[in-house]
């Protein structure tokens, strides 16, 4: 790497004042003596100024806070906060008294808690274990009628990206793809892929499945193809390709889409591997909004063959491991986020994230109908997928969805 490359790599941090003194001086010295880099810096600063101006305009264009906000603001900060400042002089004066009061309050609270557990909610723990919490959240999740999820898949890995970039001048960021899943009952979903055209060729289209049938939307021809799923086999595949690789996703029929969020699924994982560990972690943000976060660590250890014997993996294969992170709102009993990272040693190769976008908003059928996401004038090939819902609740809805 020559001096210019090195300096240009640091120009962003330079104009952002994010370099240490030595690095800053080094860049400044180089830019001073290099005409091309000097011009590069000027352009970068010019662009930053344009952006700054634009953002200032946005700030200036802000409307005044609406009456709802102003009204609500009158009760903030809450009285409790004003009454009990933790480090106030008053508090310091009554330190001894405070300790006694705190101890008494603590003892009373423990007694009350114990009595409550013992008499009022027998059999139920007040502080749920990770397993119970996840299980409860998953059950609640599955009981909802409609759920909107956002799934994003990020492919990483230096070699992989370098190869693609070399061949196709592909920006690694373009590999990030998002699928917005609209879910009506556990088995009926529509996916609206967003993001990069390069990463996901179906970016302007759709694919959906209800556990039995799959349909795809061809954005170019404005056509929806229905019934692409193989009706004979117990599973169907969905294949998409990038300019360099082809990927295939296999969905098992009647697969409960949310099963991976359930504790049962975790247990299944547990059965298949000896190295499953669940620990509770909290980030600064999560603790602030009272979320509980769990991490499931699993190393991809030796595989078991069909005969039950272990097939030893190579050293490289043993370097692979996965980490799942589950964020739960204990109050709502809601799994808000599920993240999975596949790593090679410390390099993240693949990350997969499912985020709850919304639940139980009382969407009408049209919201889930593909035509709500497909431009007007789209033709439909074949009939819409038949209603498969056991309770028959969705039959009418699907009928109208096919109109």
């Amino acid at each position: 790497m020559n001096a210019c490359d090195k300096a240009r790599q640091r120009l962003d941090a330079y104009i952002d004042n994010e370099l240490d003194d030595a690095a800053r001086a080094e860049v400044a010295l180089h830019v001073e003596g290099c005409k091309a880099c000097h011009q590069e810096l000027r352009e970068l600063e010019g662009m930053r100024d344009s952006l700054k101006e634009q953002f200032t305009t946005w700030i200036a264009e802000a409307p005044t806070p609406p009456p709802t906000v102003l009204d609500r603001s009158h009760t903030w900060p809450p009285a409790a906060l004003a009454a009990t400042p933790p480090h106030s002089p008053a508090r310091a004066r009554s330190k001894t008294r405070s300790i006694v009061m705190k101890s008494l309050t603590g003892i009373a609270a423990i007694l009350l808690l114990t009595l409550t557990i013992y008499f009022l909610i027998p059999g139920e723990q007040v502080i749920a274990s990770p397993a119970e919490l996840i299980q409860r959240a998953a059950e609640k999740y599955l009981s909802w009628k409609d759920v909107e999820l956002e799934i994003s898949v990020h492919l990483k890995g230096m070699e992989f990206l370098a190869r693609l970039s070399e061949e196709d001048d592909l920006d690694p960021e373009d590999l990030a793809g998002k699928l917005r899943i609209l879910m009506l009952a556990p088995h009926y979903v529509l996916a609206n892929p967003e993001g990069s055209k390069k990463g996901f060729p179906l970016v302007d289209g759709l694919f959906g499945f209800d556990g039995n049938d799959i349909w795809t939307y061809d954005a170019e021809k404005k056509v929806v193809h229905l019934g692409d799923a193989d009706s004979e086999s117990s599973s169907f595949s969905f294949t998409y390709s990038t300019s360099t690789t082809e990927h295939s996703m296999k969905f098992k029929k009647d697969t409960n889409f949310m099963q991976f969020l359930s504790w049962d699924f975790m247990k299944q994982l547990d059965d298949n591997t000896e190295n499953l560990e669940i620990i509770e972690v909290t980030g600064p943000y999560d603790s602030r909004v009272e979320r509980r976060v769990f991490e499931v660590h699993r190393s991809l250890d030796d595989d078991e063959t069909d005969e039950g014997t272990k097939k030893e993996k190579s050293f490289l294969e043993k370097m692979f491991w996965t980490r799942s992170r589950i964020t739960i709102d204990p109050e709502e009993g809601l799994v808000e986020r599920y993240e999975l990272d596949l790593k090679l040693s410390f390099i993240s190769l693949l990350s997969f994230k499912v985020e709850v976008v919304d639940v139980n908003q009382g969407y009408d059928v049209e919201y889930f109908h593909w035509s709500a996401h497909v431009p007007e004038g789209t033709s439909v090939i074949d009939a819409p997928p038949p209603a498969q819902n056991e309770e028959g609740e969705e039959a009418g809805e699907e009928e109208s969805a096919g109109e």
Partner: protein
Amino acid sequence: MASTPLTPSSSEFLRRSVLQLWPKVYAFGRSLVRDPHRAEDLCQEAYLRFFEMKRPVDLSRPLLPLLLTILRNLVASESRRPREVSLDAPCAGETAPPDAAAEPPAKAAARREEKCTVQAALARLTPDWRAVLYLRDGLGFSYREIADVVERSEDNVRVTLHRARRKVRTLLKGTGLDERRAQ
């Protein structure tokens, strides 16, 4: 936490301080969703959630990052589909600057055009990229502070910022704006 007791007057001061952040939070909303009306709705919701937070707020720390984090979280979980957002939101440059009367018409037109060009370039970035750019170039946040708001690592912020700027430059190339600005 607060280092002094909250008197009614300090409460009022805090309340005003929080409300003064409204334009910056709103602009962050615009960076994430583009549609000004939706940004306003989201900003309102973020404020209401902030006021209703059950835990005491750490008043010794700046409140802006917390409000921005709440807003970002709201955007991630709000139900309206981004696909339905109008891409033809009025160009920011269309609003006259405060000194519009004193500005010659040609210069004013150039300014409007420049703003529209920048806005069009921003519209082509992903929301994450726009958000990071806004936090850095709009609010002057450090990489560490940005990382806290967008819940990413500092390295990720550094790379995202670099890519976002590179993309904006690519989009502005050919419009002549980047050269004019560099002069």
